[in-house]
Amino acid sequence: MTLTEPWRVLAFLVGIIAFVALNAAYLVWLERKVAGHIQGRIGPKEVGPFGLLQPLADGIKLMSKQLLVPKGVDPLLFKVAPLLVLVPAVMSFVTIPFGENLVARNIDIGLLMIFAFASVNVMGLLLGGWGSNNKYAVISAARAVSQNVAYEIPMLITVVTMIMLTSTMNLNEMVIQQGGGILNWHFFANPLMPFAFLIFFVCALAETNRAPFDLGEAESELIAGFHTEYSGMGFGVFFMGEYANIIIGCSLAVILFLGGWQSPFEFLSDQGLWGVFWFLAKVYFLIFCVMWIRWTYPRTTLWGLLNLSWKILIPISLLILLLTGAMIKVWPLITGAS
């Protein structure tokens, strides 16, 4: 930790990109294993022990494939779109604290920055779908946008609640506030927080286009949605972007509610690499839940999705915001008065 600033940034950037790429590859492997076992199968097993080299084989296959640019597409949009999905996701990792001191840029508005980048993501889907010159892709792009717009609202309301609770937007600061064992996590800060967590988690699922909200790529309706026309690494980059977004979503949930890199019990260390271990353990648990959910539920429709957002998530998240605000402001008054 004695590197000078430019080297530090470079090290982090290389680290983050490696982390994203490796995770995207191995989360696919994990997903296939989870799906396999849920369905009474084994999943990948032929390439390497337990199929562990499968992502490598897949990667080589995707990279060696021709990048087809179909007739009639807008070449610029078509090529830029996958990057527009992946780059913001990678950028968001800049402010994520993996450990007490392990954060690329510990900036005060980290949370705001992540949401700013997250909203660029949907542009990638829109441009990819629009640029593909494919009716299925256009429908999918329209769906993805309306879905993202609908779900930013309850998600942001929940996040505002958390900001009120912690009075900071610095992610590391938030984690530090949750030190001292599992009961100090914001998940248990007040009786409303589990619901807030649930809302945040559902919104994260919807934001990242994961089942049961995978309307954008609904394979039984729209073939593959916005990436119908993509081949080779064009598809691969979309895929990496999707998994990077899942990691971001789960990381945020962990940081906001589940104590980030803090260990669950005080007698367990969270210094140095232990902090990274606790953080990743929680993140991977949530990612497992995301996969578990995907392989359990059928897909919703756009109507169902909007109904859920406007009729259930937004009113309840507003209620939580109000009640939390009241608790923060009114409770000290009462207790202070008595």
Binding site: R41, Y136, A218, I223, W295, Y297, G304, N307
Partner: protein, 372 residues
């Protein structure tokens, strides 16, 4: 919703659903005229796997046509075998030994369960749920193993003969079937908890794709589609054949007419099929499985004959015209999904794309049977 679909200055586009599309379960093409995601008009285009079985029937003997009947609906082949032997036996006045009839019922009902299980999985797959398909396949695999052990084949069975069956079953089959009944009864609650009661699924199917009983009648829809619209019609009850009158079972009927009703009809039918198989196993008499006086060369008397059976997807009717020779003069195969699909154009008008696909899934299409 319908008003939206019919806004006056609508800008429509044509979406080609199929012939290769994950939701059409085979090579069916639907030409959709869409306004946004609303369907303005849907026109199914058939014939991609048309093989002209009816002409084949005019070129081979009565016996030789048997394998063809298994290739119409490859998921419920035994019902089609049954329909064919039934109408020819009726024309010839052949008496079938009781044991053979009971075994026919047992195997047909097992086949029906297999078909419904596959439909269940594929339908939930249409709705985006992947896992139930694999669970259903697991159970279906047991049925196919059982049927394979008696018929020698997994899909294109060709097990029945005019006047009986080609083989008797062994004890392994009987005990295996009983074990399977037990197994499936244990697993059905899991299916219901995982899928039927799931709020996402309920929201997707309730009040979606409502078919009225009158519409079903006008289009000649039969089977679970008709029973999901509140009409209590099942060939096994209305036109009793084989040994069905001796077995106690109910015909599930739901009156809502939506996709959920059709789903429930089929799920309840699995239950009823299990009941039928169980009773038939209990009552299974000893004896021969082949009638004694079956002529070597069949020559039904000249005339036309009609026979219908309840296949997994509805009424399978078969009209044979004999000119008194050993080769059929005309063979008309009336497949249930042909009629069931014909209402799709009208029924899907004004629906959203995902709802229209849910409706299509709930019709339980098997393309080779539509195209014949």
């Amino acid at each position: 919703m319908n008003d939206l679909a019919r806004s006056p200055n609508q800008e429509t586009f044509v979406l080609n659903l199929g012939p290769q599309h994950p939701a059409t379960h085979g090579v069916l093409r639907v030409k959709l005229t869409m306004d946004g995601e609303y369907i303005v008009d849907a026109e199914p285009v058939l014939g991609y796997v048309h093989r002209m079985h009816e002409k084949m029937g005019e070129n081979r003997t009565w016996v030789q046509f048997m394998p063809n009947t298994a290739r119409l609906d490859y998921l419920g082949a035994l019902s089609y075998n049954h329909g064919y032997v039934k109408v020819v036996e009726q024309a010839m006045g052949l008496e079938v030994p009781e044991r053979a009839e009971y075994l026919r019922v047992i195997t047909v009902e097992l086949n029906r369960i297999a078909s419904h299980l596959l439909w269940f999985g594929a339908f939930v797959l249409d709705l985006g749920g992947f896992t139930p398909l694999l669970y259903a396949f697991d159970d279906r695999e047991h049925i196919l193993d059982l049927l394979e052990s008696v018929t020698g084949s997994r899909l294109t069975f060709c097990y029945y003969r005019f006047g009986g069956l080609c083989n008797d079953v062994d004890d392994d089959f009987l005990t295996g079937t009983r074990a399977f009944i037990k197994r499936l009864r244990k697993r059905l609650p899991d299916y219901h908890n995982l899928v039927t009661k799931n709020i996402i699924l309920i929201n997707r199917l309730k009040d979606v794709g409502v078919l009225s009983a009158e519409m079903c009648r006008k289009y000649g829809a039969t089977g679970p589609v008709l029973r999901g619209s509140g009409v209590d019609y099942d060939v096994r009850k209305n036109e009793p054949y084989s040994v069905y009158p001796e077995l106690d079972f109910e015909v599930p009927v739901y009156s809502e007419g939506d996709s959920m009703a059709r789903y429930m009809v089929r799920m309840d039918e699995i239950d009823q099929c299990l009941r039928i198989v169980e009773q038939a196993l209990d009552k299974l008499p000893e004896g021969p499985v082949m009638a004694e006086k079956v002529p070597k060369i069949l020559k039904p008397a000249a005339g036309d004959y009609y026979g219908a059976v309840e296949a997994a997807r509805g009424t399978f009717g078969i009209r044979i015209v004999s000119d008194g020779t050993n080769i059929p003069y005309r063979m008309k195969l009336r497949s249930p999904t042909f009629s069931n699909l014909s209402l799709y154009g009208e029924a899907s008008r004004g629906l959203l794309l995902p709802d229209a696909l849910a409706l299509m899934g709930s019709l339980d299409l098997v393309i080779p049977e539509i195209d014949r």
